[in-house]
Symmetry: C2
């Protein structure tokens, strides 16, 4: 009972956060996305690609398949902003974000509460026996924190109220 | 079993986030905290007070007692930054943050997993029967999101790497 409840609380939090991110991004022009979120900091387009790629990497991490665009990891995760000469276009990255979210949601809809308490793919059976918190649901918790952190920064791309 | 595990995962996430916030704030001078996190946005001192007050308000919300400084709600939650003429000093707000965190942690150490699935004080028995996700643990999840969002912004007060 609590297992189902907590799984659904965690997933609802993740999904509503991603809806907020999509809504924010949809309200920004390509030009706004090319701007730095604060002077000398990451550009909007980089943070958008960064969040989408981190979400995409959850597919292999949760054992749900391969990433949709594994080549984005070198651009948006292993490299800091401005290290890569030309980033994919804003249109491309926006549609990637939505595709990743839809793909994850499609998988999540088929998973039950017990599935969420199974280990993720980056922990061994031995370690998981000792550290049962290294399960799939914990990935959702940590990625929710990650995305909230960057959403607070992306919000600065919007005109001041 | 999963109940204990998920409660502990959620609380660990909350507590390590608050340690990160304390560490960031400890590394900032009073002068740095007086700066806006980005041009025209909230000042560090305001965001610090805002996060600490939102945490403090969890005491009554979780049924653990009264807020340590209920008078801060008018300054840091109901009012936007710059609406209140003089904010409490950085020293005062830093020590408030730590006192709030220590007080919450003291209460949390005495709570068991079942306590976390009880309703919080802002939901009626009738509504809680229909919406069991409106429990105390969900407050931790949502406040973790809230604090991560603002931590991402506060990070801009640090010199660029």
């Amino acid at each position: 009972m609590e297992k189902e409840l907590l799984t659904s609380m965690t997933l609802t939090g993740w999904q509503s956060l991603n809806k907020r991110i999509e809504k924010l991004v949809d309200g920004l022009t390509d030009e706004q996305l090319q701007a730095e979120v604060a002077p000398g900091r990451n550009r909007g387009i980089y943070l958008l690609g960064h969040m989408a790629t981190v979400s995409d990497m959850m597919l292999p991490l949760l054992g749900l398949g391969t990433a949709l665009k594994p080549e984005y990891q070198a651009i948006f995760v292993s490299s800091p902003d401005k290290a890569v000469k030309e980033l994919p276009s804003a249109t491309e990255v926006k549609s990637y974000l939505k595709e990743v979210n839809a793909t994850l949601n499609g998988h999540f809809a088929k998973m039950n509460a017990d599935d969420w308490f199974k280990k993720h793919t980056q922990v061994s059976d031995e370690d998981f026996a000792k550290e049962p918190h290294r399960n799939r649901l914990n990935i959702i918790l940590s990625r929710t924190g990650h995305h909230n952190y960057h959403l607070g920064q992306m919000a600065f791309l919007q005109p001041k109220a």
